[in-house]
Symmetry: C2
Subunit: 389 residues, 2 copies
């Protein structure tokens, strides 16, 4: 990261006002509170939390979210697995169906000591994995992905291929660790009762899959569920052993828009500077565009469209009805929300704003470090984050 941060060290202990913009600001106390909230909710159910670090991509953030120094964690890329393993995290689930071209890398990470588990949802891959496990003499732990909401990957619970895959893995050289599901369609819901109902659909579907494997004499020690909305609103987790969630540590405008968190819980924002005005159009131009915010327009489908982000003052408090209505690569156009009867606030050249993102995972990915602050706006640390594959 050295070439990425030539101006970094001298910024620690200074206020946000000294930073070159755009940059990503992390309110550490909010992450701590968000993690504590989910742990409090899950505690009565006796399940473990396996935080998904696809949103954070930072060992420093991971340490706020993990139960212990070695995990458990979930990752979305082998690059994340490499990175977290290099920082002492060993209990890792790579939660994207394995591609054949990644198996050598998986075995290599395990040979070096990572307790890395993988995912698959089809018989072709199960046969390949079982054969490769036998060849490598490595009982690679495998979870079978189950589809409980129809939104993406996985086997439907009553599908006979579940048992075929289970038998292929178990009879071959792999370790059948269990089943997993992700009710990603919960992002499309927007009230506590619907989240709870989806959580129950997710739970009952995966528990049925686990029961089918066990009824066929196959092992199924792990029963893994999770998405940020269902994790927070589940009322019953009987039969579940672990819960995964990722964006919960940061939250964002989509999660606030569907009612999973409050705006005040959002822990990440993009710091930007006013560089111009188009007074006749009611526009304020800032130096953060879609490269800094990402192209994610997740709130476009919600009741309140936040454009490319909700604009806050330098303290992180929202400026009423000011949003980023459009974005070019390195320019953001701020304006009063369409329909709001309100004057444009006075933000002169050089004024700094903080912009809450639609989607923390997408916005975070555009940045190579977090500027960590608490409510006093002093930079207490600079945390690198990884990028790419």
């Amino acid at each position: 990261m050295s070439s990425a941060t030539p101006y970094s060290r001298q910024e620690i202990g200074k206020t946000l006002g000294v930073l070159e913009t755009p940059c990503l600001v992390l309110e550490k106390s909010r992450v701590t509170e968000n993690v504590a909230r989910l742990r409090r909710h899950l505690q009565p159910f006796g399940v473990k939390l396996r935080p998904h670090l696809k949103s954070a991509k930072s060992i420093d953030v991971a340490r706020l979210a993990m139960a212990g120094r070695q995990g458990p964690i979930t990752v979305s890329t082998l690059r994340e697995a490499e990175y977290f393993f290099s920082h002492g995290v060993s209990d890792i689930l790579y939660a994207v169906g394995i591609a054949p071209n990644k198996l050598d890398h998986v075995f290599d990470l395990r040979r070096r000591g990572a307790n890395l588990a993988i995912l698959l949802d089809n018989e072709e891959t199960a046969q390949l994995v079982a054969a490769r496990c036998a060849e490598r003499r490595d009982a690679l732990p495998v979870l079978i992905e189950v589809d409980t909401d129809g939104h993406r990957s996985g086997i439907k619970p009553p599908d006979h291929t579940l048992l075929e895959i289970g038998r292929t893995l178990h009879a071959g050289g792999a370790l059948l660790r269990g089943v997993m599901t992700h009710a990603g369609s919960s992002y499309g819901l927007h009230d506590p009762a619907s989240f709870a109902a989806m959580a129950e659909q997710e739970r009952s579907g995966i528990v049925a899959a686990a029961a089918a494997l066990r009824a066929a004499g196959l092992p199924c020690p792990e029963v893994s569920v999770g998405s940020t909305p269902t994790a927070h609103f589940a009322r019953n987790l009987a039969g579940v052993t672990e819960v995964r969630a990722g964006v919960f540590m940061f939250f964002d405008l989509v999660m606030a828009g569907i009612g999973v968190c409050a705006i005040e819980d959002i822990a990440v924002s993009v710091l930007a500077t006013v560089i111009g005005h188009q007074h006749d159009k009611g526009w304020i131009i800032v130096d953060a565009g879609w490269m800094a915010m990402s192209r994610d327009r997740g709130t476009a489908r919600l009741a309140v469209d936040q454009g490319y982000g909700m604009v806050c003052d330098g303290a992180g408090d929202p400026i009423a009805d000011l949003i980023m209505i459009d974005a070019n690569q390195e320019h953001g156009i701020l304006a009063v929300r369409p329909g709001a009867q309100r004057a444009l606030p006075n933000l002169p050249i050089g004024a700094m704003v903080r912009i809450f993102p639609n989607h923390a995972c997408a916005t975070g990915a555009q940045h190579d470090r977090y500027y960590v602050v608490d409510r006093d706006r002093t930079v207490s640390a600079i945390w690198p984050r990884i990028h790419g594959w």
Copy 2:
């Protein structure tokens, strides 16, 4: 980049089939052809090309596009300026209106030898810059940004503030280098006649601004225009001294969709692997999602919506009507284009596809290197690219 590329060197000389996916593939011969095309078009006008490296962010790509080892180039961030300067490029225009918090960095780059010029469009910034130039005893070259199409920043040509800014800079310690404009609204047009008309609007607007400065006794040696569509379709560049363009070196589905290039000109694609099927839904699941493609949906507003990308076979030839219809962070869902009467192609687990992006600048930003190939699919080089600010 060392931590980013643990598996890289051994891949040179191998076919794309050995790569871990997703990754970004660059067809070098297409870049060379795309650059040659624009240079051929501009040659009769006697203007210089100042390629915009916001799309490439790679010195190796830059060397295919630059007239000489030292530039001239355009950049969108000071990080790009730092990076290209560290590789010997010195003639650099930072083409985003300057923020006060970046001036120290600009002066520092110039002190180290970069011939870096900046942009502004308002009197407040002009006063600040003039004062700082006097303080630093550095005649920083400044271009005044002019708005010729109303899409973003800049002063309207007849605006009296143009002359005020010119006088403030010239009387202060800055070097008034000239005027610049970017007809970004050309991306919203879709036929040669409209591009040509917009190019003439861009030219006549900026030439009028230059004339106004000169009539007031102010210097205006540089008259800079550019956007990929107007650069390619301009029929008259009288009074213009330089043209800027960025995405032209790669092209993408938006540029093809509006008719600036052919699909066969697109030089970048994302290599992905089939990891699953949802046969009942007609879905093929690959290991490249929006993290690899970006969230850019630029073709959504065009006559042909390409989803998150157009799917090609491993040789880079389009598979008829197969697009990425939806994307999660690390999952892409491929399906036959809505409305097309066509069976899903047979792409088994492990099959590799290449996906043309909607927007090369956004997709490129998601990757930390290019895997460079020519039509034989052999990796001839791995070129790092930069990220962040």
